[in-house]
Symmetry: C2
Subunit: 115 residues, 2 copies
DNA sequence: TTTCTAAAAAACCTTTCAGTTAAATAACCT
DNA sequence: AGGTTATTTAACTGAAAGGTTTTTTAGAAA
């Protein structure tokens, strides 16, 4: 199973704990212990989540004494965005149709739904 | 386990088969059989993938005789985009830094890497 | 050297996931 | 009714995910 990069990235992102970790890292580097602190799970569990994020390239790690500071990496997020971009037209069009529909409703019956 | 919506959406997207199905649907409605055709897996397997996409709200299904046409739904993709948006600044900044660095390299040694 | 702290690895368990084949539904077509 | 077509459901399997506790590793500090 040669799992493709985008799948690896998306499945890494499909976990609230991991997304919370990324959110924390968007504020700056942090050690494993610091990252684990807000969660009720064990430290090894957090360590595993970090490994998943690292395999996906979403974070990288340094070495500083006995700490291994983590930092957010931009590339995979940019890749998700590029993939998503090909659907942007689609959802914008949907939005436009909805908008037009609502405008049409107003024209036909200006007082409807105006509570 | 009250799985949150974004996690459900992302894990639905974290599969190449399911993304291929969405790509096909971005071209227009299709039946289960039509969607299954390009894949080497069994029809029930595709049916399961569709169920995952449906649970995530990424597709919806109609009824037309013995066919159940699927169509792409925009909302969850828009939601992923919104979430991603909060990181956009981050990766753009990274890109800018890289760009600045490359410009700096050129200034210092205009002939370097110009093969 | 011993001891403390930060983190990772190992071993294990339970649940979920992605696929299979075989059987059941449902709607159409004689 | 009986048969064909489209799709879902059921029952099963193997592998991966996400957690646990216990054991190692690695460096700092004594």
């Amino acid at each position: 199973m040669p799992e493709d990069r985008l799948s690896t990235t998306l499945s890494a992102l499909a976990d609230p704990t991991r997304r919370a970790i990324l959110a924390r890292l968007s504020l700056g580097e942090a050690s494993v212990g610091e990252l684990a602190e807000p969660f009720e799970m064990s430290l090894p569990a957090v360590s595993k989540h970090l490994k998943v994020l690292e395999r996906a390239g979403l974070i990288s790690r340094g070495r500083e004494a006995q700490w291994r500071p983590c930092r957010l990496e931009a590339a995979p997020l940019r890749d998700v965005n590029s993939w998503l971009d090909s659907y942007r037209g689609f959802w914008e069009e949907k939005f436009d149709r909805l908008d037009a529909y609502l405008q049409e409703l107003q024209k036909v019956d200006p007082d409807a739904e105006t509570n």
